[in-house]
Symmetry: C2
Subunit: 141 residues, 2 copies
DNA sequence: TCCTAAATAGGAATATATCTTATTTAAAAA
DNA sequence: TTTTTAAATAAGATATATTCCTATTTAGGA
């Protein structure tokens, strides 16, 4: 935030547009974890005719350049699990394959301090993300 | 297998329908983590006129009775994060609020054995899920 | 200032999932 | 067994988030 958004864009090689500057400013000023819609509602005040597409495009652009991150699931649709034993998953970021893994060590880790002030924890969800063997092989071509 | 399913349904107090029996059988026979569409494609062979709605309803039903689990995101839309420091999240399963947490202990845990055979891990994603303070308070009414 | 590739607005399209309603059916009652 | 009725289903409409398409505008370089 020390640096001007304009400079950041130029460094990365992005065109400086009013929409981008405003979205950047909004993101910096918003607390929490806004959804695209939240950003859209905010920027509409200054750019009443901005389109949803521009907001989505810009957020993707920022994400691709590491200016923001997504808090999200990898798969685009719900996947069901018939394995009811406690386990975790390796998820391929390319083909979305989900593979069961056991990782007892992580289940034993005590809760982080202070979490009881946030609410009642009922579950912990752990995902290892990467590129699966199949996709790595395909890559070698 | 079919005998089993019939008994399970009765135990839980569910009506035994051909669609449910078949979906149950399909789930038991499918490996991996099928999406609703995968189940739909499979059951269509025997019930060509089955509707997507029935598949979704049945999967929800099974999930509500603990016969299967969802591998899924909690929020219905993507949320963005401007906090680029390594951190994790507490997510409220009720209001979908996302709160940053630090949990260094979990970052230090070594990868589970054998994961290198699955692919190249690039990231680990950890979420604590539960009911946030606000929702707990509201509950007291 | 002019030029051109990139960005945008607006709306259409897509995809996943849920809802509505008329019809059928499971299973309890007679 | 037959009857009864609430529950389940099929079919299609609807909702919602996101992406795509295309004509127009614009940023930034020549
Ligand atoms: Mn699994
Ligand atoms: Mn965060
Ligand atoms: Zn893969
Ligand atoms: Zn909450």
């Amino acid at each position: 935030m020390e640096k001007d958004a304009r400079d950041i864009f130029k460094e990365i090689g992005l065109r400086v547009t009013p929409q981008r500057l405003e979205i950047f400013k909004i993101l910096a000023s918003m607390h929490g974890h806004p959804a695209a819609e939240d950003v859209f509602e905010r920027i509409r005040r200054r750019f009443p005719s901005i389109s949803f597409d521009t907001v989505y495009r810009t957020l993707s652009l920022f994400e691709n350049h590491g200016l923001i991150k997504k808090v999200h699931h990898l798969a685009d649709k719900t996947r069901y699990d018939t394995n009811l034993k406690r386990h975790h998953h390796f998820v391929c970021i390319r083909c979305k394959k989900i593979i069961d893994i056991e990782w007892d060590e992580i289940d034993g880790i005590p809760m982080p301090k202070g979490v009881e002030n946030l609410g009642r924890v009922e579950d912990r969800y752990v995902e290892l993300r990467g590129i699966c063997k199949d996709c790595l092989n395909e890559e070698e071509e």
